[in-house]
């Protein structure tokens, strides 16, 4: 009879873990739909970035209020995992507070978890207020209409409930300890600095009811954690996992350095080679794969850009620093990332429902999600890249899509076509003669 609990717990754990693992597999497959790009150079610099930016939150604190609150929630999440480990062991083996043999240190740990839990609640409530009462501009932005706005709030509710359950569980436990209930050895109220203030509410309740409440909150707490774990894949909250690989694989080159397209280099070299026969048919190449210039859909982007899309937390720091967005243009770097993820998910579902192959659906990231008007409003100033707390580059996606518009579709705005014609004919973006380049020397 007493094994029923343990078996039930194991089943819950396997179901929760299994479903999550399945979604992670899908996530990796989707990211791998992207083109290859080498981001394994300079590992020491990459580890350093990950340590500073993802682990150390160095870019979060550039906005001190949000940064500080975020660190509280982040620390709470990281440290409370020790408690989750204990819960898992207790659940599987039917023990109660298996780590309590550590004595004073254990009391200290539990006490610090409780303080953190309270701080997390404070931070989360403040976050909720910023979104729903203060209504900060980047949180009321139209990018978030619908699911993203609810998603953000659900996460906050989830975290509050989980923290409350944790504190109630401890309060009930403490009450049973004071009663001297069998199986509830006293750890001492110093371990429960927060929940000891809740414990008095159990006064007068029957021991069996408190016992039930203690077990109930314990189960709800761990079940909640498993549900939350599985919620990640469907949510912007995925960043708590992907921030780490994302900062590791982020671009290390100067922000102003845009990549050189290798495929174009080969063509241009051939064009400029005086010995090349202009009428020669290209050598038939069995391995030749038609490569598109630039990107019109998610498969044309590289895997780091797709990883970026899954990592985005939709915090909107990029959009709020974007000069085009600030002056009322349609471009929002955050929307570029959200659109990329939405389209990638759509492509993933398409593959799932077609036995592992993508069946063209007549849609693409360009036009169906991101319009040329948005793309042409970008000044390539890198403010969005600089602002992102986890080193996402919306700019690289914008540039790849511009390349597609110009090189595959010749669909640049008229004035840009004129500029490009001038460069081609006169070696300057304006219509001046190259022979007049030095005239300034003699002008008064």
């Amino acid at each position: 009879m007493s094994y029923l609990d343990n078996i039930l717990f194991a089943v819950l754990l396997v179901l929760g873990g299994g479903y999550f693992a399945g979604n992670v597999k899908k996530l990796i497959r989707n990211i791998k739909l992207g083109q290859d790009v080498n981001r394994t150079d300079n590992p020491s610099e990459r580890w350093k970035n990950m340590a500073m930016i993802a682990l150390g939150q160095s870019k979060m604190v550039r906005r001190p209020v949000a940064g500080f609150l975020h660190i509280l929630v982040y620390l709470g999440f990281i440290i409370i995992n020790i408690e989750v480990l204990e819960i898992v062991i207790d659940g599987l083996f039917g023990t109660h507070r298996v780590f309590s043999f550590m004595g004073g240190f254990y009391s200290f740990l539990i006490a610090s978890f409780e303080v953190l839990a309270l701080l997390v609640i404070v931070a989360v409530v403040t976050f909720w207020m910023r979104r729903n009462v203060v209504r900060l501009k980047r949180f009321v932005h139209g990018d978030l209409n619908g699911w993203p706005r609810n998603d953000a709030n659900y996460i906050l509710y989830f975290e509050t409930v989980l923290m409350c359950l944790f504190l109630f569980m401890n309060a009930a436990d403490l009450h049973l300890q004071t009663l001297g209930a069998p199986g509830y050895e006293s750890i001492g109220s110093s371990a429960f600095p927060i929940s000891q203030n809740i414990a008095p509410m159990f006064n007068g309740m029957s021991e069996s009811l408190v016992h039930l409440l203690e077990k109930g909150t314990w189960w709800l707490h761990i079940a909640g954690i498993l549900v939350f774990l599985n919620y990640l894949y469907f949510s912007k909250h995925l960043h708590i996992l992907l921030a780490f690989p994302n900062t590791y694989f982020a671009n290390l080159k100067p922000q102003g350095q845009f990549d050189n397209l290798e495929s174009v280099t080969n063509e241009v070299k051939l064009m400029m080679d005086p010995n090349a026969d202009p009428f020669a048919a290209p050598a038939p190449d069995a391995d030749a794969v038609h490569t598109k210039f630039g990107a019109s859909d998610v498969q044309d982007l590289n895997w780091v850009q797709l990883l970026n899309a899954y990592t985005c937390t939709e915090c909107g720091r990029c959009t709020s620093s974007c000069p085009a967005n600030q002056t009322g243009k349609k471009l929002s770097p955050r929307k570029i990332m959200m659109d990329t993820r939405d389209r990638l998910e759509e492509v993933g579902r398409n593959i799932d429902s077609n036995k592992g192959v993508f069946v063209p659906d007549g849609k693409s990231l360009l036009n169906d999600y991101i319009t040329p008007e948005e793309l042409w409003a970008c000044t390539s100033c890198n403010a969005c890249v600089e602002e992102c707390p986890v080193n996402i580059s919306p700019l690289s996606i914008i540039m790849d899509m511009r390349r597609y518009l110009v090189m595959e579709q010749s669909a640049a705005p008229t004035e840009l076509n004129a500029m490009m014609t001038n460069i081609e004919n006169n070696g300057a973006p304006w219509q001046y003669n190259q022979m007049d380049r030095l005239n300034w020397k003699d002008e008064q």
Binding site: P254, N260, T379, E386, R402, V406, M407, I423, L438
Partner: protein
């Protein structure tokens, strides 16, 4: 004055069997834009003053391809780049100085992979090194007590981390350097980058250069300093839009220094 400008070309230098220490890459704006030509001349005056051995490519110079690349035309960019690299490699260029952050960024970062490897410096960095070496001196006086704010060009600052050289130069003028609320890493674009210079902006509430000019005006400056000919144009337009052109000037850092010297 400009009759005294000494501007040798690489071709002339080569004919005399000489190799200059540095190539001055003038850029399209510095060559053709009336406002930017003044920056070019101010910089040349300083080079002459400091007896720098330099040359320009003159008619052999062509657009770096930056606006084409940022508009998405990688073909045109690479054609421009390879042509320029061919010319510069033939002259065995080692070091390049330019007053345009767009040329600076492209030649410094995007030419190496296409075979053009040079030491590239922005003119503010170059002027700073001339001052540090004592080859150029600044007599403060003229700008004493003037409020000068510096607008960080995206392709100089964020893109390449050059923040201090232009500020050091301004401070050498005995001027009061006042920072805008958005500066350095958090600087706001002038609105010209990414080939925006050559097209009308997309529909919105405001033009970016006006927004940026408002940032600058908040510091109540006498002079708005820039280190980029495109930023210069955008901010000058912004000042005109705000009808402040009578009281506030937009000047390149090179012009400020040349002015202080009465060159």
């Amino acid at each position: 004055m400009s009759a005294n400008l000494v501007v040798p070309t690489m071709a002339e230098m080569m004919a005399q069997g000489k190799q200059p220490d540095v190539l001055f890459w003038v850029g399209c704006s510095g060559s053709f834009d009336d406002r930017a030509k003044k920056i070019t001349k101010a910089f040349v005056k300083l080079l002459n003053q400091a007896n720098v051995s330099f040359a320009v490519l003159g008619t052999e110079e062509s657009c770096t391809g930056d606006p084409a690349k940022r508009a998405g035309n990688e073909f045109l960019f690479q054609m421009q780049a390879m042509t320029n690299i061919e010319v510069m490699n033939a002259y065995e260029i080692k070091k390049i100085v330019t007053a345009c952050p767009h040329c600076f960024n492209t030649i410094k970062n995007e030419y190496p992979e296409l075979g053009g490897k040079y030491e590239v410096v922005h003119h503010t960095e170059f002027l700073k090194s001339l001052l540090d070496e004592g080859r150029l001196t600044i007599e403060g006086g003229k700008f004493k007590g003037k409020r000068i704010t510096f607008h960080d060009p995206c392709y100089l600052g964020r893109a390449n981390n050059v923040y201090e050289a232009p500020r050091d130069l301004i401070q050498k003028l005995d001027a009061e350097l006042v920072e805008m609320k958005r500066s350095k890493k958090n600087g706001l674009c002038c609105g010209a980058g990414g080939a925006q210079m050559f097209k009308e902006p997309e529909k919105g509430d405001k033009d970016i250069n006006v927004e940026r000019t408002e940032d600058a005006l908040e510091t109540q400056p006498d002079i708005i300093a820039a280190g980029c000919p495109f930023c210069n144009t955008m901010l000058t337009d912004g000042i005109k839009f705000k009808e402040k052109e009578g009281s506030i000037k937009v000047m390149d850092v090179a012009e400020l220094i040349a002015n202080a010297q009465d060159l």
